[in-house]
């Protein structure tokens, strides 16, 4: 019974914790500009993160090694360091974007300028990283994030023409108003938002923090195979409401309020309130995850003690990195850089960096020295290999597409 509760809780938090500022922005923007023409990318992305997160969880449960440990063990000190620099920079950008996202959702609720919230949000994020137990933190933000289900309710209450929606999702076409370059640029952005590297980094470090062992392999599978696709459905719902409400009106979202607009149009004030709670929860959850991920990646590269299980005094360098990252992230938002634009760059750069994290993980997941008899099956290797090719192609194409499409500008 206890085990069952634990599993249910794990799945619920996986759902509520799936969406972050990257998904909010990418889903809303692609929905508003391309309708459901890019929905297939979301499906591809969610399946990809499932395959690799399951691997990361399995490696962590059987060997106690988190992802950045493996990066260094497989790539060596030099290449591993380059990888660390790239991942750390992208995770830091994402952290800044998430802090901006929390502040923007507070602005939407209070009409007080978001910049005033940034230092407070930064401080609170640090306080939670410093004081709150891992499970409590993980469960609280995950469950609160379930408020986003209101977006799915809005889709249902909008009484869409399901047949036409299915048709446009399965017969993707570039709208007449958009260029092919912009279409593919946003396809990559959407892939980056779904497969953000910090997610596996955090997922595997979390598995080590919660002392997962071989007996938790089932929990790992259920979290990933049930929680992730349901979380992905929330991202899809954001895209659908944007396609239903924003696209016909020709609104190109450039502010977080426009991600909440469709829900409030369909469901009224209560819908808006719940959507804002959802936005707040998923961005603050992701702010915590990215802040900790900054510390995890650096500490795991250098072999320092890390984690929230340890008292801060036992993992001083880890805590110092987390604090410094939050300070830098909040500082970046305070420069009045537009958080939405920051998010777009973070997810596009994530897409460019995806193979860096996923290649070492795939190699180790085949190594019996780490996993014993739990190495990848032929099926998961086949799927993961196809994904690796896709990720490498996307990674090579990202920067040229960014320049040619002028970052998807319309």
């Amino acid at each position: 019974m206890r085990k069952l509760l634990e599993i249910a809780l794990g799945i619920l938090t996986a759902i509520g914790g799936f969406v972050d500022i990257g998904d909010l922005v990418a889903s809303t923007e692609t929905g508003a500009r391309f309708g459901l023409g890019l929905a297939w990318v979301l499906v591809v992305g969610v399946l990809g993160i499932m395959i690799y997160a399951e691997m990361a969880g399995r490696v962590a449960s059987t060997s106690g090694r988190a992802v950045f440990d493996l990066v260094r063990e497989r790539l060596g000190a030099g290449v591993g360091l380059l990888n660390l620099a790239a991942s750390f920079f992208i995770t830091l950008l994402t952290l800044a974007a998430e802090i901006g996202g929390v502040a923007l959702s507070l602005q939407l609720a209070t009409s007080v300028n978001y910049l005033l919230f940034v230092p407070i949000v930064g401080f609170l994020v640090w306080l939670v990283c410093w004081r709150v137990r891992f499970e409590v933190m993980d469960n609280a933000v995950g469950l609160l994030g379930l408020a986003l289900i209101v977006v799915a309710v809005a889709v249902w209450r909008a009484h869409p023409d399901w047949g036409a929606m299915w048709h446009s999702a399965t017969h993707p076409a570039v709208p007449a108003t958009e260029s092919h370059l912009a279409y593919w640029y946003f396809a990559i952005a959407l892939l980056g938002s779904a497969m953000t590297p910090y997610e596996v980094l955090f997922f595997s470090s979390g598995a080590v923090e919660q002392r997962w062992t071989r007996s938790d392999l089932l929990v790992n599978r259920l979290n990933v195979y049930i929680g992730f696709p349901l979380g992905g459905l929330l991202a899809l719902a954001l895209m659908v409401v944007a396609a239903l409400v924003l696209e016909p009106r020709g609104i190109d979202p450039s502010h977080l309020s426009q991600a909440a607009l469709p829900t409030s149009l369909v469901l009224g004030k209560l819908g808006l309130a719940l959507a804002l709670v959802g936005f707040f929860a998923c961005t603050s959850g992701a702010a915590l995850e990215t802040a900790l991920s900054c510390g995890y990646s650096l500490a795991q590269y250098f072999g320092w003690p890390w984690g929230k299980l340890l008292k801060p005094a036992q993992a001083p360098r880890f805590q110092l990195v987390v604090l410094a990252s939050i300070t830098l992230g909040a500082g970046l938002v305070l420069t009045t850089l537009d958080p939405i634009q920051l998010t777009e760059y973070a997810i596009v750069l994530s897409a460019a960096a995806l193979p860096l994290t996923y290649l070492p993980l795939l190699i180790v997941a085949n190594d019996p020295a780490y996993l014993g008899d739990k190495v990848n099956s032929r099926l998961s290797n086949a799927i993961a290999s196809v994904y690796l090719v896709v990720l490498v192609v996307a990674s090579v194409a990202t920067i040229p597409l960014m320049i040619l499409s002028k970052a998807g500008g319309s």
Partner: protein, 239 residues
């Protein structure tokens, strides 16, 4: 039973875990001691860890920065790497378990004295990283390739040893090292077919250089007796 290990693949960059289960840094380099007698192969005498050891492996601007700045910034008094003698090592697996607590590791100013002392002992201590990447040249001055790993033999502990005895057997030499670095040459890694195809083919020209074929080691160049053609292909390690 002696067990074959590839140092770069299976020891370097692995996690150190102290006697209390705390993380205690990475294996940043290995100290090899040449007994001075040409017939005897060098032994691994210590694991080196910390920024000062890592910096020696990074031939980049960051490496130089780490070498100059880290003693002052990261670890005052630690201008030498922390040195874990091999007899304080409990087990070698996907992580390296130590018999001592992290705060008892041989670090700090006392370390410098040890280094001066070691300097006087006959035989020469070198670092694994001095061998990695070195160019191998045969007696006709033809280049054989670069050292991409060091094959160790883990012997039964002798009565006077407390930790695992590790001795250098030979060097793995090849033109390209990527596949080896990822562990595809190793027994047991069946790997996704695609990655084996891409990285496996990169490691095919590898050769094994037994230690007794080495004539001299100078400044990143290793001269051997005989020619490249009579070097065997490497056997997979035992992982």
């Amino acid at each position: 039973m002696a067990r074959r290990l590839d140092a770069a693949l299976e020891l370097l960059d692995r996690q150190l875990v102290d006697a209390d289960g705390r993380l205690a840094g990475k294996v940043d380099d290995l100290e090899l001691t040449d007994p001075g007698d040409r017939l005897d192969r060098p032994r691994v005498t210590a694991i080196l860890t910390g920024p000062a050891a890592l910096a020696g492996r990074l031939h980049t601007r960051f490496g130089r920065w780490l070498r100059q700045v880290s003693p002052r910034l990261l670890a005052p008094g630690h201008d030498q790497p922390s040195r874990v003698p091999l007899d304080q090592v409990e087990t070698v697996a996907t992580d390296i378990r130590l018999q001592v607590a992290a705060d008892q590791l041989d670090t700090g100013p006392g370390q410098a004295r040890v280094h001066r002392l070691v300097g006087r002992i006959p035989g020469r201590a070198m670092r694994l990283s001095e061998l990695l990447g070195a160019e191998v040249v045969d007696e006709h001055d033809h280049t054989v390739g670069k050292v991409h790993d060091i094959r160790l033999e883990q012997t039964e502990p002798e009565p006077q040893d407390t930790g695992p005895g590790l001795r250098v057997e030979g060097l793995l030499v090849g033109r390209r090292a990527l596949g080896g670095r990822f562990g595809f040459g190793r027994g047991g890694v069946r790997g996704p077919w695609l990655l084996k195809l891409v990285f496996g083919s990169l490691g095919h020209d590898g050769r094994y250089l037994p230690w007794d074929r080495i004539r001299s080691i100078h400044a990143h160049q290793i001269h051997i007796t005989g020619t490249a053609d009579d070097l065997p292909s490497p056997q997979p390690s035992d992982g």
